[in-house]
Symmetry: C2
Subunit: 378 residues, 2 copies
DNA sequence: GATAATTAATTTGATATCGAAAAATGTAGC
DNA sequence: GCTACATTTTTCGATATCAAATTAATTATC
């Protein structure tokens, strides 16, 4: 249906993804998953084996009939790099061809970084992952904050990094590493990480609630990331708060971001900066019965509820430092929803903390590189 | 890539859609639009012409080079029926093969309809469209209120029609008319109408604000309808109102639906039923400077703003009786947004009344049947 | 232990699509 | 009027995919 050569390789790329996600494990199940005939699936599998991407790994007997010849990805076929950039630091992660995490790396940016510092740190961070050198780098994924144009490969905007405007970062990195580079907003990268490494493996509609230094959400709908017409979907941190408030009183971000939430739990004022290091300590101390707790829970319940009724996502995953509060927080939020919403019937809200930790952004970026990878079997 | 026969026909179906939407007008532009080689496009066009779906309609000279041989859909190749069902009435519309509206029909349901009444009225309404009988019915689209499962063809729920639960309506209608039947939620059908007949022709991300007897939105994201994990996306009429309110005070629908809005504009209480007939009269009388007007505008601005920051849609289209208020209402709402939102920068909100009238639902249903149609050229 | 049933993988001839070249049909410049 | 150029459409041999039949490898049944 498309250009023939491209179609072939794209099909083989899809095959790799199905095998990685365990949606398929043999030639016949691949044929089903890819919606091609058994002969075609077999053909491509042979090519992929010949090129060193796959290997025949024994048999698997079903209830009856000839047993499947199971296929495995060869971990040594190559690796993918994932990088998450924030205002303060660069986190990178290495996953092998079959999707196992091999290495992590963390590097801090200078206090008032400019674009050049940042780019160098990113490059350095990726180089640091490649300790072994005996396996090729097949792709790089980068999660960057703020507005990001994945198609053009431009990181459009970041207020905290000097002259970081419309940086052609994919071009820079692909020139450096001679591989494809995928760029995505970092919270949206987290959403992809949730698909590959989290609990949302087989979901088509879910939401990441990103309560970090700011507040935003990432949406997967119909199995695809929602970016919006101007790449600004999910920026609900800019909602007014309180929601009825007028005359520029404040934003949702000011009250529900991770620093704000921890300040509120500690009964502190909105003034001053709260060091991130304190988060886990504060999380342990948090009084889960006090009025500060209840107010925060109630506020979150309102926001999650609004999202829920609007998008009808299967699950909302809380991501960020607030996950340190444990499942209790999300459970309380879910339980508080009926108080705020008049007709909670038919509304099985699911709100759970992400099981992915601090690496989710880098992991998602690596996943994006993995998803985009197209093998060549010449 | 898929089953061969199905692929062929599906490709030809896509070709028809591209021609209808004027995204393509010749063999070569079809090849581009469909992402197939010129030879393949030409081949399918020949088949479609031979089967009577298309005709060669002259030449069109570009700046240079051989002129295009323009292709036209043959209007007499068949027609599509679109039906919108609401609690009170059944509206149907007939469009020919090239997408022209041929006929409309309106039928009222009995006062307390049951499922059987409703089904019969729908069937009757479609039969009424087919006055000529000299052109075949190729597909039926149905927009139904409430929860609707397009895949299974089930109209799940409607509180105002007796025993209207999990009605296999597509099965019933396709058995009656011997054509494919497409089912969709009626507001989502309106969104499709906007794509084919409205201003949102080339948009990938837009929102329909449906302020009618209830209040809901329909979303198109990445060019596809958003239905949600439980087919309940867009039901923001169930949001609490005021948005900060607790303890089941009321819903957004209670304050912003069309009847509620007109009551508010007239300074009436929330009690009693407001006849729909009065809407246009009230629209003419509406004082567009008074405090009732300003409050309504401000409330709408808040809701549209929340949607806008969350989804980053290109445009929000107002649909329903409030469009009778004219463009002034939407303009005022758009202008009021900066008052409620702290950081309106980078937020080119577009909020306009739908140019489609009362038939939008039926028109969208017909469009869905049109989109789904797959020709057979044996 | 032979045979039937079941599922997986492969082989094979038919066909849909491709890419590239050729043919067709116009404009632009001289 | 002729040639050069641009663009669309068609032609044609090569190839990717398919559907169906065949082979393969196992369990179930008698």
């Amino acid at each position: 249906m498309r250009t023939k050569g491209a179609d072939q390789s794209a099909l083989q790329g899809q095959a790799l993804l199905h095998l990685r996600s365990r949606r398929a494990s043999s030639r016949s199940s691949l044929a089903q998953a890819l919606d091609v005939s058994p002969s075609t699936a077999g053909l491509h599998v042979d090519h992929l084996i010949a090129a060193g991407f796959l290997e025949d790994s024994g048999r698997e007997q079903g209830a009856m009939g000839r047993p499947k010849r199971t296929l495995s990805l060869r971990p040594d076929a190559g690796w993918f790099a994932g990088v998450e950039l924030t205002a303060e630091r660069v986190q990178s992660i290495q996953i092998d061809f079959s999707g196992n995490i091999l290495a992590k790396h963390l590097e801090f940016l200078p206090s008032h970084p400019n674009a050049e510092d940042t780019i160098n740190t990113i490059i350095n961070s990726i180089k640091n992952l490649d300790a072994s050198q005996n396996s090729p780098l097949l792709g790089v994924g980068l999660g960057a904050p703020g507005l990001v144009d994945p198609q053009k490969g431009l990181a459009l905007d970041h207020s905290l990094i000097r002259n970081w405007t419309s940086v052609p970062i994919t071009q820079i990195l692909s020139h450096q590493f001679h591989t494809p580079v995928i760029l995505e907003n970092n919270l949206r990268a987290v959403a992809i990480a949730e698909r590959w490494f989290g609990a949302g493996k087989h979901l088509e509609d879910y939401v990441i609630i990103g309560a970090r230094s700011g507040f935003g959400i990432a949406m997967v709908q119909n199995g695809r990331l929602t970016r919006g017409a101007h790449l600004a979907a999910g920026e609900i941190g800019r909602w007014p708060w309180p929601l009825n408030g007028a005359n520029h009183k404040g934003t949702l971000e000011d009250h529900l971001s991770a620093p704000a939430a921890y300040r509120r739990l500690a009964g502190l004022s909105n003034r001053g900066r709260l060091p991130v290091d304190l988060h886990t300590a504060l999380a342990r101390q948090a009084d889960t019965t006090g009025r500060f707790w209840n107010r925060l829970v109630s506020d979150y319940a309102r926001v999650v509820g609004l999202i829920h009724f609007m998008l009808d996502a299967d699950t909302c995953y809380l991501h960020g430092p607030l996950t340190a509060l444990g499942p209790r927080f999300c459970d309380d939020v879910a339980a508080a929803m009926p108080n705020a919403f008049p007709h909670p019937k038919n509304a099985p809200i699911r709100f759970t903390p992400s099981t992915l930790g601090d690496n989710a952004g880098a992991l998602g970026a690596a996943s994006l590189a993995m998803e985009a990878y197209i093998p060549s079997t010449d």
